[in-house]
Symmetry: C2
Amino acid sequence: MDKQYKAHELAKGQRDISIAEFFERNRHLLGFDNKRKALLTTIKEAVDNSIDACEESEILPEIIVEIIDMGNDKYRVVVEDNGPGIVKEQIPKIFAKLLYGSKFHKLKMQRGQQGIGISAAVMYAQLTTGKPARITSKIHKDEPALYMEVKINTDTNNPEVLSSENKEWYKEQGTRIEIDLEATYFKGKQSVDEYLKQTAIINPHVTIIYQPPKGDQIMLVRVSEEKPVLPNEIKPHPYGVELGMLMKMLEKTQTKTVKQFLREDFSKVGNKTAEDILENAGILSKTKPKQINRDMAERLIKGIRETKIMMPPTDCIVPIGADLLEKGLKKEVNAEFYATVSRSPNVYRGNPFLVEASLAFGGMIEKEGSVELMRFANRVPLLYQQGGCGFTEGVVKTGWKSYGIQQSNGSMPQGPVVLVLHIASVWVPFTSEAKEAIAHYPEIIKEVKLAIQELGRDLGKYINKKKKVGAELKKRSYIETYIPHITEALTELIDKPEEKDSLSKNLSVLLEKQRGEVESLDFDPTKNTEYDEELKKISMEEEYDEE
Amino acid sequence: MDKQYKAHELAKGQRDISIAEFFERNRHLLGFDNKRKALLTTIKEAVDNSIDACEESEILPEIIVEIIDMGNDKYRVVVEDNGPGIVKEQIPKIFAKLLYGSKFHKLKMQRGQQGIGISAAVMYAQLTTGKPARITSKIHKDEPALYMEVKINTDTNNPEVLSSENKEWYKEQGTRIEIDLEATYFKGKQSVDEYLKQTAIINPHVTIIYQPPKGDQIMLVRVSEEKPVLPNEIKPHPYGVELGMLMKMLEKTQTKTVKQFLREDFSKVGNKTAEDILENAGILSKTKPKQINRDMAERLIKGIRETKIMMPPTDCIVPIGADLLEKGLKKEVNAEFYATVSRSPNVYRGNPFLVEASLAFGGMIEKEGSVELMRFANRVPLLYQQGGCGFTEGVVKTGWKSYGIQQSNGSMPQGPVVLVLHIASVWVPFTSEAKEAIAHYPEIIKEVKLAIQELGRDLGKYINKKKKVGAELKKRSYIETYIPHITEALTELIDKPEEKDSLSKNLSVLLEKQRGEVESLDFDPTKNTEYDEELKKISMEEEYDEE
C-alpha cells in the first residue's frame, strides 16, 4: 500500500456539491431570505413563467393567483394560466430540478432566463412544509388533464414523482401549480399585491384574477387586446465574444470554413465583414474551424475588434414603448407633469438591451422624501434590493439639481417625483439569482443616465415655468383679494349699486388682460397708487362701452 | 404517431443547464464583473484556499503571490503555499469543477465554504485567455512533485486534463497555481495590495511574500508563531432545522430509534433533552426514524421549539480575540483612542456565529467624510459591496450621535473613526457567490449593533472628556501666552534679573497646580486682575522657599 500523507486524509473529504444542496443552504440568494419574501418570490416565479409561456404561444394571458392562509404561518399558493400546458415528461424536471429549462440557451428577451426560479420555490416549499408541488397540465382540449405530485431530491438535484394520474379539468388548456410553504402575508410595499398591480400596469395585455388570503377577489383586467410583438432569438454578436467562448464555438460549429463560421454563427456578419475580420486577423478564409488554435483564435478576436461591425439586430428586444409606459404611469400616479423616453438599443458584452424611462412630477405625489423609483426588467417588477441596483446608481449619479430637484451628493434626489425605469434585454444581468437588482455594467448605467437626462431637461423646463407661473399667481391673488373692496368703493363713488356685479367682473377681466400681457409686472397692490388710478380709468371706459 | 401540440414544440427546447455555463454567463455573481475585480477575486480565492489548507494541516502558512504583467491587459497570477499539497486524483476536480470540495458539507469555520471560488477563477482565465490552469503539487518531501494542466468543460462542468507529469520542485511540500487572465492592476482601495495587507493584519500567523507587477517585492512577515486554535466541526443544532431538512435527516440516519437519532445527529441533545422533545411532540422514543412521516416530523419540529435546548457549542468558531484585533488595528491606523470587543457566540438558523468589533478614533484619521469600515468574515477581508452588506446596515442603524459622532438619519456616521467588524461562523451567509457582503439576517445585524454600542459608550466617554480637556487646554494656552510678559514685568519689579528663569518656571508650575485642581476655572487672563495678584503672591512664596 502507498504511504498515507495529510493530503490523502484531506482527499477523503472532497466531494460533489449538488446545486440543490447549495441553494438549499444559500436560499437567500434565490429570494427566500424570509417568510414574507418567500411568498412574493414564489408567486413571482410562477406568474412570470405563465406569462412567458402564453406569450410564446401567442395566447393572451389570463392568470389566476390564489393565496390561502393555512394557519401557523403556512400558506397555500395556487397559480393557474391558460397557456400551452406542459408535456408529461417535462413536468418533473421543469418544477423539480434546478438549472433546467428552455430559456437559458436562447438569446431572446424573456422574463425567465435561468431555469432556477420555480424549482427553487418548490424546494423551499418542501423544505418548510415537507409537501410536494401539485401540478396540473392540459395541452389540448381533446387531451385529458394530467395531475402530478413532484419533489426535488436535493442530494442529486433530480425530480421525484410521487403521483401521476389523468384527471378532469374545466380548462381547455393551461398549467396550474399548487404549493404549500411557510410564509407571511403583508399588504403594502414589496407585497404580492404590489407586484401583481405593477405587473398588470407594465403588461397591459395580461388579465390577473387575484384572491388574497383576506378580503375580496381583485380583478386586474387587461386594457389591451393586442399581444406584444414576439421578440426574435438572435445569434451572438462578435463584439461580445471572448476568447474562451470563441474557442468553444469553433469547436462546436457545423460550418466548414472559418469564413462560413463567422457568417453563420454570428449576427451582423456578412460576406464583406467576414473577409475584413479575417484579413485583420491574418487568417485564410478557407481555414477549417477545427484548425484554429488558441493563438489564431486570439488573432481572430483582435481581427473582430479592429473591424467595424453593425450593431446587433434589435428585433430581439421589444420595448414597452413611450406611450404605453406613460399610460401605465398615469394610471398609477396622479401627477401634474409626465415625460417618457424609450431609448434606442445599445450593447453590453454583446447583448443588445434598451432602457426606457418615465417620470411623473408634482400633483398628488408625496412632496417630502426621496424620489420614488419603480424598476422593471423585461416587464417584470423588481421590488427588492433597490440600494444594490444598477438603476439606482444611474439615478444617483445623475445631477438632478439642474432640473430643479434637490439632491445631496451621491444620494437619491428628493422631491415629488416618481421615476419608472425599464430594461429590456436578451440577457438581463442580475446581481443575484433572485433577480432583484440589475448588475452594475457601465454601459447600462450610462443608458440609464442618458434616459434620465432626457426626461430631466423637460422636467427642468416645466419646473422653471411653474416657478414663474407660481410667482405670477401669487401676485394675482394679492390683487384679487382687493377686487371686492375696490368694487365696493367704486360703486359708492359712482353711486350705481346696480352696476356692482358687472364692475367686479370687469375688474377681474382687466386683471386677466393686464397680467396676461406683462408677465413680470412687479408691484405691490397694497402700496402702489398707480394701480387705483388705472383701475378707475379703465372701469370708466367700460362704463362708457356699456352705455 | 401522437398528435403534436404547442407543448410538444416547447418541450424540444427544454434542457439541462450546466452550473458552469450558468456562471460563465453570470460571472459577475462570482466576482468577475470587470478586469480589476477579476484580479482581486482570483488571488483572494487562491490565497484563502492556501491558508485554509495550511491551517487544517497545522502548518504555519507561508504564501507566495506573484503578479506578472504580460501586456495587453493580460496578467499571470502565481500563488504558492507550503501546505499539505493535493493528491493527483483530486487536482482536476478541485481546480476545474464548480461545486466540488470538502468544505461545503462540514459545519466548521473556514474561509472557503462553497467549492466554487478557485474553479471560477480557472474558468474566467480560460474564457479570457484560452489557457489552462497550471498546478504543481507536492504532498511529501519523499514524493515527486506533480505538474498538471487543467481546463473546465463548461458544457458539462467536468475537468479536462491536458497534461500531467512528475517534476522537480524545490519545496518539501505545497501547492502552486499559475493562471493567465484578462485583468487590470491598480493600487489603492479594493486592490490586491489592500487585500493582502488586510489579510496579514487579521491573520498574524501568516507570512505573505508578494511581488506586484511593478515595484519591489513586499514582505508581510508573520508577527505571531502561534497557530490559531483549530475550530471543531459540529452537528446541526435542533433550533436551526426545518421540516424538510429534518425529514431528509430522518431518511438518511444510521440510528435505530428517534431518540437515538436526536441524541446522535444533533448537537446539544442529551438523554433528558431528547426525552423532553419527544414528550412535547407526542412521539414514542422507540419509534424508528423511517416510520416518522410528514405529520409526525412536523410534531417533532414543534416538540423541538417547545423544549429548552442549550445553545450550540462554540468551539466550532474561533474568534480573533479583542487583543489581537486591536493590535492589528493599531498597526494599521494611528489614532488617539482605541476600543475593542469580542462578543459571545449567538445563533442564526442554527448556525453559531460571533461578532467582533474594533474602533479607532482621532489622531491621524481623516477628519472629514464617512467613518471607514473594514469588514472581515472568517478572517477574510471583504473589499466590495459595502453598501449591500449586513455589517453596513448594523452600522447605519446604530445611533452614533449619542457617542459624539455626527450622523444623518439612515446614513453612515461621519468623522475620524475607523471601525473593524469581523464575523466568525461555521457558515457565513453571503449575499452572493462572490462572498463580498454579509446577508441581512436580523440576528447578525443585532449582534453588530450590540458590538458597536459597547464600543460607542467608551468612545462617547472619551469624546466627552476630550471636549472638557480641550476647553481646559484652550484656557491654559491663553495663560501660557502671558507668562513671558508677566515674568518680564515681575523680574523688573523685584529687580532680580538672575531669578528670571526660575520665576518663569514657577509661574508654569503654579498654572499646572491651579488648573489641575480647579477643572472648570473660568476666567479670562486678559481681564482678570486677581490673577496678577495671585501670581505675585505665589511667586514671592517661591522666592522665600528658595532662600
